[in-house]
Amino acid sequence: MSDLRDLYQEVILDHQRHPHNFGDMESPNRHADGFNPLCGDRISLNLKLDAQGKIEDIKFKGSGCAISKASASMMTDALKGKSTQEAETMFHLFHHLVTGQDDATIEGLGKLKVFAGVRDYPARVKCASLAWHTLDAALHEKKEPVSTDDGMGSGE
């Protein structure tokens, strides 16, 4: 059995209490909505990409559990100033962190490594990855809202 503190680390609890980059954005040029039908979590993600495709600004809104809120908050922190390609790479690293069997990708993730604990709580993996799947949809300009029920890969 893993300790609850491995899941609910202090930094996660901090971000859920005081989420960063939370709120509206004026004239975003990328947008997607994500939804977890299992628990009703919703996230609305807005991005502003500059001419070179760099993430100039990123903001989220929505309601959700501590894990999904903290994940969205820390994701937005991590992505500011990154290129869309770097963002995609981080998405894959993060995906492996929460669904994989090992810490192979932990080094590339900086502060986001606190989400490694989620791996031991299969029912919560969707919470941690909702923001990232929504990001993926926004970058690929998908019109359909993201649902954690379809097409989010195995292990979720």
Binding site: M1, R42, C127
Partner: protein, 433 residues
């Protein structure tokens, strides 16, 4: 075997009328220790803690009687029904049809022909919507549901309304979680062809005054379908006293197997309804030119049914009847009162659904802590609850929330189970500080 309903306990919604009967009947107190021993899963551990199972509105655990009946069926009785002259087939048919009689008695239907086996409540509702609904609804008609329905009593009606041009109307709910009857005479009107409502809300625990509403609906010429999924394990149901046109429930919420449920319909209605699915077992004769259907209930039971599950359901009905629904209700009501009292003491806890007429469900939010987080923290304490929208998103919207945590009760729950729930909630408060 089953002589249950000779002394069938009175339905709670008619308590006044039957006061005398209640007093006369000596209600045996529940032998809790003995009852718990009947459920092997209750002595298992989750995360090294004894399992505290409080997710009974999702599904109940199964007593030995049911587990052993299923085991015995596959070991010694397995055969297909209605189609063999060999011993096993005839025996299986007899046991299977015997359960129909048990169900008939359990809900006091007039005839076994009014009892249709389905996959569950959801299929029961879909069956009525797709057969009765398509045959009887047209543009200008109205289907009335309530604001506290499970998605399974919303979506099938939306689908058939879309197909037929009928309109879906909704009886709203009050802050306490009761049906708001203020505008009932407007909502229930001569255009209303069907009133479909739940007897007990899965998200709020409210027990609805179904007998009154059925009377009102019949006055306007509407038919009524009652979703009994959350009711049948908590109170005795008498479909004839209710005068319900259709009544449906699931076996797995009544200590029986999954994959089996029941649809009761008044025979005259069933007879006039077109079949639901075509296939074997539902036909009288087939040629490429014309097929003649069997009479109800077989008209609605195409294909090989869930034989083992039906027989398992029979064992569950025997088990519940043996303990007695009055005994079960008294135990659960006492637990509900106790749970309500101790939950109210938890700082920041808000109960969602505070009707004076409730059974078995404690739905709540705790400060800013998301129910999903509560679910995980409680799970680490061995406490199984449901966190989410309970397939009743309109109920969540009504209260401006996205989810609740829900503890739901069964006959084997104890006050210690509820104490353990509160211990877990206090841990959550500590963690989230």
């Amino acid at each position: 075997m089953n002589t249950t309903n000779k002394n069938s306990p009175p339905r709670r919604q008619d308590a006044k009328k039957d006061d005398k009967e209640i007093i006369l009947e000596t209600r045996k107190p529940l032998d809790l220790l003995k009852a718990r021993k009947e459920f092997p899963i209750l002595s298992t551990f989750v995360h090294d803690k004894p399992l505290v199972y409080l997710d009974n509105a999702a599904t109940t655990q199964k007593p030995l009687a049911v587990i052993e009946t299923l085991d015995n069926y596959y070991r010694k009785q397995n055969a297909n029904i209605h189609r063999g002259v060999h011993f096993l087939s005839e025996q299986a048919t007899q046991i299977y049809e015997g359960v129909r009689i048990k169900v008939q008695k359990f809900i006091n239907a007039a005839d076994t022909k009014e009892i249709i086996f389905t996959k569950g409540t959801t299929e029961g509702i879909n069956l009525v919507a797709q057969t009765w609904g398509r045959a009887n609804l047209k543009t200008g008609d109205e289907v009335l549901i309530t604001g506290m329905e499970h998605h399974s009593n919303i979506v099938p009606w939306q689908m058939v309304c879309e197909e037929t041009g009928a309109k879906l109307k909704v009886i709203p709910i009050t802050d306490e979680g009761d049906l708001d009857m203020k505008n009932i005479s407007e909502l229930l009107n001569p255009k209303t062809k069907m009133l479909a409502l739940t007897q007990v809300s899965n998200a709020l625990g409210t027990v609805n005054p179904v007998a009154d509403l059925i009377r009102l609906a019949h006055e306007k010429g509407a038919k009524v379908l009652v979703d009994g999924a959350q009711a049948v394990s908590h109170m005795a149901v008498d479909v004839r006293a209710l005068d319900s046109d259709f009544y449906t429930f699931s076996g797995h919420k009544l200590y029986g197997p999954t994959g089996i449920g029941l649809l009761y319909g008044k025979y005259s209605l069933l007879e006039a309804m077109p079949p639901y699915q075509g296939g074997g077992d539902m036909i009288a004769s087939v040629t490429f030119e014309k097929t003649l259907y069997k009479k109800p209930p077989h008209k609605f039971e195409a294909g090989t049914p869930a034989i083992a599950e039906v027989i398992g359901l029979g064992a569950a009905l025997d088990y519940v009847s043996h303990i007695g629904l009055l005994t079960i209700a008294a135990h659960e009501d006492a637990l509900l009162a106790y749970g309500t009292k101790i939950l109210k003491r938890v700082p920041g806890l808000t109960l969602i659904g505070t009707s004076a007429h409730k059974t078995g469900v404690l739905s709540f939010t705790l400060g800013e802590i998301h129910p999903h987080d509560l679910g995980t923290i409680l799970d680490q304490e061995g406490v199984a609850i449901r966190a989410g929208h309970h397939c009743a998103q309109p109920v969540m919207d009504r209260y401006g929330i996205s989810a609740t945590a829900r503890a739901s009760l069964a006959l084997y729950n104890t006050t210690q189970d509820l104490d353990q729930l509160v211990t877990g909630l206090n841990k959550a408060l500590e963690l989230f500080g």
